[in-house]
Symmetry: C2
Subunit: 623 residues, 2 copies
């Protein structure tokens, strides 16, 4: 991976930063955030402005360009990747390390007095605008909205915004109709005394209307906004996809409906002016509910006194708690996914020793096996297929320049997942196809102990996920090891593989309490720069637990693994496990045998079945 | 404990809330916070306004009185106590429970449109003012400062503000002179480019000048403010105590000093006008540093553009990291404290079976034994001496109405501590003087497992204490038990027994990272309402740990117990302990024997020594 040469681009950007055609007054700094106008984590090619200007294409990062400097903030998952992809024009700001300044503090330290800092108001979330603008103002600078996106002005071959056909989901997948979702939303609005709700996140629009799309790779969403009133529904969406008969029927666009369920379809680009019209027509006490992460542009469309901002929207919270239809779908998807991975690992075991399997070939093979499964739609994120030192690049994606051949001498880490019409998967397994070293086994076993500590944790109803994060680290900490990422994220149901409002992280303080039906990942790891990476990830469902005293009827929760893929026992130093941990592994493998074994049998995949049975032999602990 | 009858007082308060003599416009609600003008947790009798109006005298709680309602917010430590102390005029708002509204949300739900909510601007911290005022404003109400404290207007027999003599501490106790502390503070000020620093917390004033007082019971502080400029020092303090020759000498008030170390002594009451004068005289870029918890009144004295607010002041952070002199002092104090408790428990073991020892007698006896130790000053908080059901009242203090007799049939919980000139102690032990039930032993052992999990935890340098909180709960959670308080708080060095900026709590998200030299408590518990309370508390010092891999040179930390008092082995169900936990107990008891045993020997306390030796016999675990 050679870095992108950005000297010329930065020169052009610095020119437009002073060009009165684009900016009212010259800006001394320009911020290029990661997201799109919907604050999406995964974005369409036309929105990859930060990658265009810097070369760094990880999923999280913010670039700031001043007349003298170009700096990139990103987190521990991406330190190595960003360092590889960016040229010497860029300074890497490692977030989470003690001495790394915040963007605001850094700006204050480098800017000349009374500077203007520009940003596209559609791209920056309102809460971030507020925080930055406050710090900058108190240091004598100004954060200013620059209407025209300055990257777009220099990005001559910027791709078009996608506008692909929609998929409709019936009740067997969603469990609840879009009408009932609107009814529930309006009742939450009535509770909070708000008259309007603005849906800005793409997965929230998709979930609300039981529609899916493919405008963004890996995330089955489509570019749209919605504005829900107590008696009106407006859907802002482009293209002739709303002419598609199944979509029209699903949304009952041509039926005679009660007026409050009649959907008005409007152009995507008209959201700002329509919202401004809503804002201008409000009577006192008529509030408008927005996420505090909605864009500054849309938030400003509503006069301040009429805004009702919350960190999580009622849709985000409702979406996180999966109903029976969704949970069953997720279970089915994970069984199919396990079948594909048993096939893959069986194949790898045979092929790797021949020295012909590269990271890219392995990733492609994983996709091939998954695509053979029913209702497969696409992958849920770019497959992390990494061997040896590449495994230490936490969100690595193999490309021809970095593509390594798998061997019997190196650890192989595969973090992959798929979108099926009935659910979303995300699983990481770390394997050795030869003989792992004692140190590799030691590290793997600590990671496994952390994985089990979270998966088997019992906690009172209402506990926030971040309170479980340290359980995943304790075994690593005891010997002076750690990993620089959170332990888990929410997972959508045939939706985004990363979703709020719950998670398991030392960083997430605003997470909502865990409740039965929520689905998160459990993925501790350990990374040795330049040598190897280890991660063990299951997707787990929050379920009620049985405890002796049940928290005085508050209720007990624990997790049930939905992922059912063997954990390589060859990598485990059994003597480092407690009896309880050992039993956990054996029971987990027994369940893989039963559930996935039956499906392999049903699909006539006998060789993979034999592999599964071999890999799930019970561990024996020396007493 | 019978509740305070508040009908008449509330009537009077509701009258002054409308009386133009005291309020510019009538206020429909009046907030009575817990603290004083320094946001102290422990307050002088003249500042106990919330207790006066409601009867509830716990250390934390906020009262709000409207024309129709009177409501009290407090946390899990005080649910039972508040319910006992308040009459039917009051509604108890249990903070931390899911359905309890915030004060702001509650106000919005009960107030008529366009209401005014009054509060004393000296008593409410600026950050809280900001938060409340925002929510109230967005709901159409106004938070207004009421200059005259409305409680004081109806509190006819309000005691005088104390003004007691000062104690000077020399270098052997403090390790650093006040001049060097001023130099260090000014260098922090220069780093942040601020010209003035306002010291508002009483323990910060005391620490900065190496002075102690006794204006507030249990906390060796005195009423004062300080304003530190780059070349000036102003100390706002009342009374003739500054005429005391040792104090004059300590502060070098009569010496010819470099002008930047010359202390100007000013009346306590002149802080507001002096600060307003500072605020009025600022040139652009001259910032004033305040805690964001300083009072709204003082914060408003500085024009907004000139304020530099942080959650923790540089004094708070410096004070938390104890130097060698302070650490050694804390060690000495804890050994003396252990001697006193060995005497006490030996005495209780003999006396309790006679049926003559009440909670109050036991508490008094504890104080008597402590007062025999060198450099004893006073207790560090009101002794929690509780037996049977009283033990479930987390911050219980025995009074004649509730005073129970200790017996061989009930658990006894003693949470107590002292101020010695060389350090502050805080220790909880839970004992049974007869035969504990299997259930009592089971609960005690889970609490002990939690205590050990924190005390023996190893974690990377820079970890925040709140990430360790769940370790203390894990064993309890496994069987469906929990406790509704944090696990630990910072402890001052001959200063407040509760201090920031570190702690171990599921609630504390703004805590500063732990570093070697910080001192916190480790005190998980379990409480069975109506039956018993269990808590095991040590004060522990953060120290470097040795780990196999040392976090890639980031450094490893762990805790060393400073408290050295036996943990009653009779209460332990050894079969619930792991081998590691069993070894921890045995090693801890071995250290108690060696260190405290030697001191008991030296003091000629042979009977208590024999008690210590018996209580520290090694546990034997059945394999």
């Amino acid at each position: 991976m050679s870095p992108k040469i950005t000297t010329e681009l930065l020169k052009q950007l610095r020119q437009v930063m002073k060009n009165p055609k684009f900016v009212q007054e010259p800006v001394q700094a320009y911020i290029v955030p990661s997201g799109d106008a919907h604050q999406s984590e995964y974005i369409a090619p036309c929105d990859c402005r930060r990658a265009f200007i810097s070369g760094f294409d990880g999923s999280a990062g913010t670039a700031i360009v001043t007349e003298q400097h170009a700096a990139m903030w990103t987190d521990g998952r991406y330190f190595l990747q960003a360092a590889h992809q960016m040229d010497n024009n860029w300074t890497l700001m490692k977030m989470g390390l003690k001495d790394t300044p915040t963007q605001e503090d850094w700006l204050v330290s480098v800017l000349p007095e009374g500077s203007k800092v520009g940003v596209d108001p559609f791209i920056i979330p309102a809460d971030q605008w507020k925080r930055m603008s406050k710090v900058l103002r108190s240091a004598g600078h100004d954060l200013v909205p620059v209407k025209e996106n300055l990257i777009d002005t220099i990005w001559t071959d910027c791709p078009q915004r996608p506008c692909k056909p929609l998929i409709t989901l019936d009740l067997s997948y969603t469990g609840v109709s879009w009408r009932d979702k609107i009814v529930a939303l309006r009742s939450k609005m009535a509770e909070r005394k708000v008259m309007w709700f603005v849906v800005t996140a793409l997965d929230e629009v998709a979930w609300l209307f039981n529609l899916r799309g493919s405008d963004v790779e890996y995330n089955p969403v489509f570019f749209a906004y919605a504005v829900i009133g107590m008696n009106t529904i407006r859907l802002f969406i482009d293209g002739d996809r709303m002419m598609d008969p199944p979509v029209r029927e699903h949304l009952q666009l041509d039926s005679t409906l009660e007026p409050e369920f009649k959907i008005q379809v409007m152009p995507y680009g008209s959201i700002l002016s329509e919202l401004q019209a809503v804002g201008a027509g409000l009577s006192p006490k008529e509030k408008v509910w927005l996420s505090d992460k909605a864009s500054y542009a849309l938030t400003e469309a509503i006069p301040k006194a009429y805004r009702y901002l919350t960190p999580y929207t009622p849709i985000c919270i409702a979406k996180a708690v999966k109903n029976a239809a969704e949970t069953e779908g997720m279970r089915r998807a994970h069984i199919k996914d396990a079948v594909a991975l048993c096939e893959l690992f069986n194949w790898l075991e045979k092929e790797v020793p021949k020295g012909t399997v590269t990271e890219i070939i392995a990733a492609d093979k994983a996709e091939e096996f998954r695509s053979q499964q029913k209702d497969f739609v696409e992958l849920s994120f770019a497959t992390i297929s990494s061997t040896g030192p590449n495994g230490a690049i936490i969100h690595y994606k193999p490309v021809p320049e970095t593509n390594r051949t798998l061997s019997v001498n190196e650890i192989y880490l595969l973090d992959s997942g798929a979108q099926y019409k009935d659910g979303t998967t995300d699983v990481t397994r770390t394997m050795h196809f030869g003989t792992p070293s004692a140190y590799e086994k030691e590290c793997f076993t600590y990671v496994l102990k952390g994985h089990i500590a979270v998966s088997a944790a019992i906690f009172p109803n209402g506990t926030k996920g971040h309170l479980l994060d340290s359980f995943a680290r304790s075994a690593l900490w005891d010997c002076g090891l750690d990993y620089l990422h959170g332990t888990g994220h929410g997972v959508g149901s045939f939706l985004n593989v990363h979703e709020g409002p719950c998670g398991i992280s030392y960083k997430t303080f605003a997470d909502e309490p865990l409740e039965a039906g929520m689905i998160v990942s459990d993925e501790p790891g350990y990374y040795e720069d330049g040598s190897f990476g280890i991660r063990i990830e299951n997707v787990v469902l929050v379920i009620p637990a049985e405890t002796k005293y049940n928290f005085k009827n508050r209720g007990s929760l624990t997790f049930e693994p939905l992922t059912l893929v063997p954990i390589q026992t060859k990598m485990i130093d059994v003597n480092l496990l407690t009896e309880k941990e050992c039993n956990w592994v054996n029971e987990y493998h027994q369940k893989c045998r039963e559930v996935v074994g039956a499906e392999l049998e049903r699909q006539g995949r006998h060789e993979a079945l034999r592999w599964l049975l071999r890999e799930t032999e019970p561990l024996a602990r020396v007493q």
